[in-house]
């Protein structure tokens, strides 16, 4: 399984610069917001966590449709499915998700503190937003894997993946933003939404790959 993780990580970094695309998209979203809402620093600070989360969510969705597409095109997917007895397919998908997250989403989390400064956020808010992104973004990838598996055989599955995934990741967004606000807005709690976010990620880490495995098996042609 380590071999699969390292191979996908290598491919994510080498082939097509998927990580950089996500970060640039994230940067573009964050940089354009102040031009849209005006130079009110208090307003920017107030909406900062939400904007960081929305930007990260949309950037996460960017490469998800390619999660299994390349595997299908070059025939590797057949071999991964056939190796089910040696490596449970759901586990292989879980590892692929981890590699995708490391190569394409972790850079977004690393960039988040810098982009938080653009939004005039205070250090506690930046820290909380970064932490919630670290914990919450894997959930988006795991759900995305199920969506990507459903759309793998379609020529332009990107839109379908987004349509399938967005409604399911809205709770992740809600709890992520709530926890981020909880760290800076006095009456709002941080721990409860953060724990809910963690629970969602853990739950979807199991459900997503299993659903993706079923979809890939039934979608094989």
């Amino acid at each position: 399984m380590l071999a699969l993780y390292l191979r996908d990580l290598k491919l994510g970094i080498r082939a097509g610069g998927g990580a950089l695309t996500g970060v640039l998209f994230f940067l573009a979203v964050i940089v354009t917001i102040p031009f849209g809402v005006g130079p009110d620093l208090n307003l920017l600070a107030r909406i900062g966590p939400a904007i960081l989360w929305i930007g990260a969510l949309l950037a996460c969705l960017l490469g998800l449709d390619r999660l299994f597409q390349a595997e299908r095109e070059d025939g590797s997917l057949d071999l991964l499915i056939m190796a089910d007895e040696r490596h449970m397919l759901a586990l292989s998908i879980f590892v692929k998700c981890l590699a995708h997250w490391t190569a394409s989403v972790l850079p977004l989390v690393v960039a988040a503190p810098l982009l938080g400064l653009f939004m005039n956020m205070e250090p506690a808010g930046i820290g909380a937003s970064t932490l919630t992104l670290l914990v919450g973004t894997p959930a988006i990838v795991f759900v995305g894997a199920a969506g990507a598996a459903v759309a793998v055989a379609l020529p332009r599955g990107g839109l379908l993946v987004s349509v399938l995934v967005l409604p399911i990741v809205i709770p992740v967004l809600i709890f992520g933003v709530s926890a981020s606000y909880g760290a800076v807005a006095e009456p709002d709690p941080f721990l409860q939404p953060f724990l809910m976010l963690s629970a969602l990620s853990l739950f979807l880490a199991i459900l997503g790959p299993v659903a993706a495995a079923v979809a890939l098996r039934f979608g094989a042609d």
């Binding site: 095109e73 590797s76 057949d78 499915i81 056939m82 042609d221």
Partner: protein
Amino acid sequence: MRLIADRLGGDRGSEIVFSDISFSLAQGDGLVVTGANGSGKSTLLRVMAGLLPVARGSIRLEDGGEFEDVAAACHYLGHENGMKTALTVTENLLFWQDFLGAPRLAPDEALEAVGLDGIGHLPFGYLSTGQRRRSSIARLLVSHRPIWLLDEPTAGLDKASERRLAGLMTAHLAEGGILVAATHLPLGVEGMQALEMEVL
């Protein structure tokens, strides 16, 4: 070990592609599957590999030993090569050896066996069509599987490479392996059973 198909049938969507296919292959036996385009050769191989469901009948492995089902005992070489263009040939082969387990030949030895010694350091994407096909044949050699399912294995190969492939298939059968190959062209392997498929 014995690979047995009993009145096997396969569908694509709601269309019946083939039905009533029966054969029995012991260790050292090979089967050449021929037939017109659309007769279900590739579908048969994909059903055997567990990539498509069995519509009717059964396909089973008897006395498989460590291998619990047909798919687990198979190497499958389809129309695509199962290799990543951004990785070197050696990186690709090392990955499959590690992932599939049961290591056999080292990547360099496997490449030498298919006549590609000295190109392991090149990205797979740099190779010609024939070299890509030979690299994917090398994948069969880096991990041990007793059953080889080959779909048009000679596609893109020159005459010398075809002869080399015939030698590898003959050696696999001599070692007690089982071989099922779908092809339009003669494989150059003696004593294989034949199955002619017809368009339904």
